[in-house]
Amino acid sequence: MRGFLAVFEREIVERRLLFVVALVLGLVPLAMPLFPGLPAASPTELRNGTAMSLALVLSFVLAVLLGGTVIARDLVERRFGFYFSRPLPGAAIWGGKLAAAAVLAAGAGILVLLPTSLLGSVPDPSGAWGATFGVVLSRSELFAAWLGVLGLVLAASHAASVILRSRSPWLLLDVMALGVTATIAWACFGALARHGAGVVAWTRYGAVPFSGFTLLQHLEIAFLVTVLIALAAAGAVQVIQGRTDLRRGHRALSMVLWGVLLPASLVLAGYTWWFETPAIEDLVTVEGEVPSPAGSWIALYGQAAHRGGYFPGFLFDVGSGRTLRAGFGNFSKDVTTQARFSADGRRAFWLEVAGGDPIRPWVAEVQLFSLDLRRPDASPRPTGVVVRGRVAAFAISPDSRYVAISHTDRLMVIEIGSGRLLASVARRDWFFQQEAVEFPAPGRVRFFGLYSSWYPQSNRPHGVVLSIRDLDVATGKLTETTVPNERMKGMVTWTPGPQGVRGLWRTREVLELRDGATGALVARLGGEGARASFLPDGRVALLERSPEGSDLRLLDPGTGAEVRRFHFAGMRTVLVADQPALDRLRVVTRGSGGTVVWRLWTLHLSTGQAVVGPQLALTSLPYEGAGPWPKRRGRDGVVWFDVEHARDAVLLRSGLPAG
């Protein structure tokens, strides 16, 4: 310790003039408000901003200069023997010199801030200047980050200086190892960011516990700390082992530095691989699901355990149990998270980020992928459809030949096979919270956009606009229908039916069937709590509950008139499972009054016959979601009911977050 302090003090005393320079520099911000032509900020903010900028610049410049000279220059100028011919341990020499350099750099930065602080306005990064430069950290966090980065710059500058000054062949190894490490780190952090590790995760159950830093930030900090430790250890070993021999020191430094960083990069690569390859069992929530209109496939996405904001998408065949992870679902709450099935249920389509800047989805390149669901050995295939920008909605034409995409600034129709752009219209002035596109007829695309000024805490009526725009693919002509601004309470949703011919308009107080082309009211289906969904053939299934039981009413989409009604006496819950044939519908029911028995029914729509099936081995749990497949959640996670085989398919074994 005595040696460390002696070296430390010597370095500080030798460079004490830096403190004086910093103090003088600290007077500059005080004069800033006197200069004409500066940004229109208050004098306090101008002083604070200038002081913080000068402090940062000075401290980092000093860190680079001191890190590169305090040891390396002594070595090159053959003055390092002064220390090694004295009873000074190598660690004390290294520690004393580097600690002094750190104190000089940090101290100079603090001294620059001192005059401004003494004037009564302690520079605060959360002020206007902080906002200008996007500083989101608190003062103490920023201070800690500044010290950490300062240490990193200092240690890196020292290592670089030793490496470059030694002019040893080991420089080649350094360059190669740096290239490998940087490439791995860049690729891994890029992949992690692309997969949502940098996203604060919000699920339908609420926010995932959030410590103030995203998973990606935690990983980046951990990696930087590892780099800092590696640089510091390498610098120490360079002095302790290399002593006055610069080349031997360089060799020792390189061995330690890359001996730590290369394995650390491999660990990061391994973690990234693990992060990117969750199984369906790793899902802890299901955020969205799309059942195939025919067959037993479901496309779903949800949050994966221990993976921050990663919401991987899966295609899941409930019948065979086959799962396939697909590239949709990466961005939380984005419509691109959804997959689409062809009308015959034979193919699945989805969009994946394929290039550009994956961290900024609004400029990313996304590509349409497809999978042939009939072939067990089929793998996802990229199509020729590639667009740049954030995709808000897309739809596949009934014949699976075309895709309609609504993205950042255009509404486009593209031929899937060739990637040929068939129609494209600008949509610069369109801003909607919910968007959907459908193919109502051959050669025609319908766009739905819903804008609502509602926010969750409000109980006051708010304005809602539903905009419907039809695009003629052949002429590129766009016709627009805007449903007049309506004022209503609570959240409003618009769910288009098959091909966008009709839609379900739900507010907090009403459920309505509306025309897809004009938004005009077709039929009022119910009040608060009413539930309805479209069957694959376009008809509407409306569920009504009464003290005697439940009724499933099938409505004609053209008029909203009832075409068939099934009464389930004593049944409290009725869930539409699927429509295996045009004439058949399967539902599951659960009795009331403490009964926990689930039953499967097959309904013949043309005759009105209801055939009750076997009692199902389902545990009674609250109904969850509004999809046509029965789904429940509980201690074991989410269970899907396989209607075909009348059995449970446990998808998610992990526990769900409380909420």
Partner: protein, 290 residues
């Protein structure tokens, strides 16, 4: 216990062998001079002694301890004067002395001050502005201030003028007379070394070619001048024989007075050799200054 022991010391720089299995032992209280031409390996040897250079093979122990592993602890009892005094150029002698005083268990601050006064070195002038001689004198003053059991002097008079050289050696002689400190010195100033060294080692191309007491060395080396053709001298270990117009001159390493007889008896004229002459005879060529 010998304060300095080198066993099989080998140092290599790439393909070049700087020291080749050098072994020597410096007795306690002696002044041991290591001589050699430029590139002979002296600096490598000193660097190994100070624990700055890790040898490829062999062992270096100072004061009974392995120097690479225990350098810092050992140097608390060792005074060092480097070949090129390397104090930070902005520090004054006073500041360096203060810095060093915190590192040694005992420190004679008054002694340093007195020596600097004696040498005429200004204590408050930055080291970078001192003359070469003054730097060496500061280095020597500092080396002696820690009451060292061992002094390692790496060519302390290199580049100094005659007055400065004299001052350095006089200081050393005084120090040795006072304390009996063990000294290892490398130097090109053979006349100066001759005055203080008890034992001499000569390095040539990394090998130790001589390691002997000074008195014995000077006794067995003689210059023989024969007025005519020299007789057979092989049993006297001739190291150099040269023919002149006036006769033959030979330098022998195994002089035997009884065997040759006096000039009156027809024997050769015999003269003693200086250390420098012995060094030249052994290393083959006149010593070239650096």
């Amino acid at each position: 216990m010998n304060p300095i022991v080198l066993a099989g010391l080998t140092v290599r720089y790439g393909d070049r062998l700087a020291l080749d299995g050098v072994s020597l032992a410096v007795p306690e209280g002696s002044v041991y001079a290591v001589l050699g031409r430029n590139g002979a390996g002296k600096s490598s040897l000193v660097r190994c002694l100070l624990g700055e250079q890790k040898p490829e093979a062999g062992r270096v122990s100072l004061l009974g301890r392995e120097v690479w592993a225990e350098r810092a602890a050992i140097l608390a009892e060792v005074g060092v004067v480097p070949e090129d005094p390397d104090m930070p150029p902005t520090m004054t002698a006073k500041q360096v002395a203060r810095f060093c005083s915190r590192l040694y268990p005992s420190w004679d601050a008054a002694g340093v001050e007195a020596r600097l006064v004696r040498f005429g070195v200004p204590a408050k002038v930055p080291f970078g502005r001192l003359s070469k001689g003054q730097r060496a004198q500061v280095a020597l003053a500092l080396a002696l201030a820690g009451a060292p059991r061992l002094l390692i002097l790496d060519d302390p008079t290199l580049g100094l003028d005659a007055v400065a050289r004299k001052a350095v050696f006089e200081e050393l002689i005084g120090e040795l007379a006072d304390r009996g400190t063990t000294v290892l010195i490398t130097s090109h100033d053979l006349a100066g070394v001759e005055k203080i060294a008890d034992r001499v080692a000569i390095l040539s191309r990394g090998k130790l070619v001589l390691d002997e007491e000074m008195d014995v060395l000077k006794h067995r080396f003689r210059r023989l001048s024969f007025p005519a053709q020299a007789p057979e001298l092989s049993d006297l270990a001739p190291v150099a024989v040269s023919a002149h117009s006036w006769g033959t001159e030979a330098v022998v390493a195994g002089y035997d007075e009884e065997r040759l007889g006096s000039p009156a008896e027809g024997g050769p004229e015999v003269s003693a050799l200086t250390l420098e002459e012995i060094f030249i005879a052994l290393t083959g060529e006149p010593e070239a200054g650096r």
